[in-house]
């Protein structure tokens, strides 16, 4: 198979205006990926699928990744005049890198039996701008998986034929796979009596009638539940 650089060059020539970056992968797995721009994503995807040498016709895995806002600290040595003397002083600058959501596609070729080529798309931000073009028209296998990303990460896929929640119920509001998701604290009892689950559950539930034996539950300290 061609190298990612070759694929990038050929795709950029084939699709005018397309912008592709190579995202390195430092680990031992050595699976670098192509970051494609959102505007031309469907065209690039179509190129990857239909190009005779590539024929990446099998989209195996589609998934989302949540990257939170980061603060990158940079320490630069700056020369300053302190008390008439020139000294090197460390100056720390903080740069805020806004977070984004990412959709990652693992592509293989069944025709040529090669792969994987990994492509990724990034949203503008994690709120209203969390939109990406859907690649379901190119690869049907993305249908359920993009729905799952929409459900769990909240990326809206433009052009998806049936974008609904898939694993959570329709009335559910948040996106549970996001890194800043806060668990609801009103779920049912868990009988591990030392957990903070118990403390929370105590706030939410009055004990059940005598039959259940629930009123006998004590926390580690031996406090009985308040009625």
């Amino acid at each position: 198979m061609e190298s990612l650089e070759q694929i990038k060059d050929r795709a950029e020539t084939a699709i005018p205006g397309a912008k592709i970056d190579i995202v390195p992968n430092p680990g031992p797995a050595n699976q670098p990926s192509l970051l494609i721009d959102n505007e031309h994503a469907p065209a690039i995807a179509k190129f990857l699928r239909d190009d005779a040498a590539l024929r990446l016709d099998f989209c195996s895995n589609v998934t989302g990744v949540d990257w939170l806002d980061r603060v990158a600290k940079k320490t630069v040595k700056v020369k300053k005049v302190v008390d008439g003397e020139e000294k090197e002083v460390n100056q720390t600058t903080e740069e805020k890198i806004p977070g984004y959501l990412e959709a990652v596609y693992h592509l293989y070729s069944i025709t040529h039996k090669h792969g994987a080529v990994i492509i990724r798309m990034r949203t503008e931000d994690r709120a209203a701008g969390a939109r990406l073009p859907s690649l379901t028209p190119i690869w049907r296998s993305a249908e359920f998986q993009e729905r799952e990303i929409y459900d769990l990460y909240g990326i809206r896929f433009d052009g998806h034929p049936d974008l609904r929640r898939i694993l959570m119920w329709d009335e559910f509001e948040d996106h549970p796979m996001r890194k800043d998701y806060v668990q609801p604290d009103d779920f049912e009892w868990e009988p591990t009596p030392h957990d903070d689950v118990l403390a929370r559950a105590k706030q939410h539930y009055t004990p059940r009638p005598e039959l259940d034996g629930a009123e006998k539950i004590t926390a580690g300290s031996g406090d009985t539940l308040k009625r």
């Binding site: 868990e190 009988p191 591990t192 009596p193 957990d195 259940d212 034996g213 629930a214 539950i217 580690g220």
Partner: protein, 202 residues
């Protein structure tokens, strides 16, 4: 001819039906709970705490290091460390768990607590009939219910228990030698635990 396939299938069922009365290979069910298949030695279900000798408190191997509590994937172990210390099987003073609880309903018998324990203090049990009468308190196994003697471990996993004993004995011996080399005073270390009831409960 249409129907031959079905007749052939019928012949197979007939063979199985007749075979189920005397053919060893087709006669596989047992009438649980009156009859029971023997459990393989590797079988695991729910952990227990090991102690040496007769006294579950004095012989308890657990030193409340809390590694298993940290590594347990479903977080079903709860440990409170003691304030004082008691001698372990090598005579070294160690902490012990004041509280050691495992929640049956959360534990998934994955054996990770056993793998990460550096003191051979927690092992997997074979008791699978764990149903309880009460929903909450009974499902929480306390330290007293969890502690079981080394003889019990030998009875359920003889090979593995013998290996563990040999390993501990070797460690105790090495420690004793080191001690003897460091201090020439005749310090007799307590006997390594083993399956004998000559215990470290001194």
């Amino acid at each position: 001819m249409i129907g031959t396939g079905i007749l052939k299938g019928m012949a197979v069922t007939a063979r199985n039906f007749v075979g189920s009365y005397f053919d060893e290979e087709r006669l596989i069910t047992v009438q649980y709970p009156e009859e029971r298949n023997p459990l393989p030695e590797n079988y695991r279900n729910f952990p227990f705490l090991l102690y040496d000798g007769d006294d579950p408190h004095a012989g308890l191997r657990c030193v409340a290091c809390k590694i298993c509590e940290k590594e347990c994937p479903p977080q079903c172990i709860y440990i409170v460390k003691s304030d004082d210390k008691k001698p372990d099987y090598m005579g070294k003073p160690q902490f012990y768990p004041k509280v050691f609880d495992i929640d049956i309903s959360v534990c998934m018998s994955c054996q990770i607590c056993v793998e990460v324990c550096p003191f051979e203090a927690i092992k997997m049990d074979k008791d699978f009939e764990l149903s309880k009468r009460e929903r909450f308190n009974h499902l929480l196994q306390r330290k007293e219910e969890l502690s079981k003697p080394n003889e019990y471990y030998h009875s359920i996993c003889p090979t593995e228990a013998a290996d563990v004993d040999a390993k501990l004995a070797a460690a105790a011996e090495a420690a004793a030698k080191k001690k003897a080399a460091a201090a020439p005073a005749p310090a007799t270390p307590p006997a390594p635990s083993g399956s004998s009831s000559a215990s470290a409960s001194s």
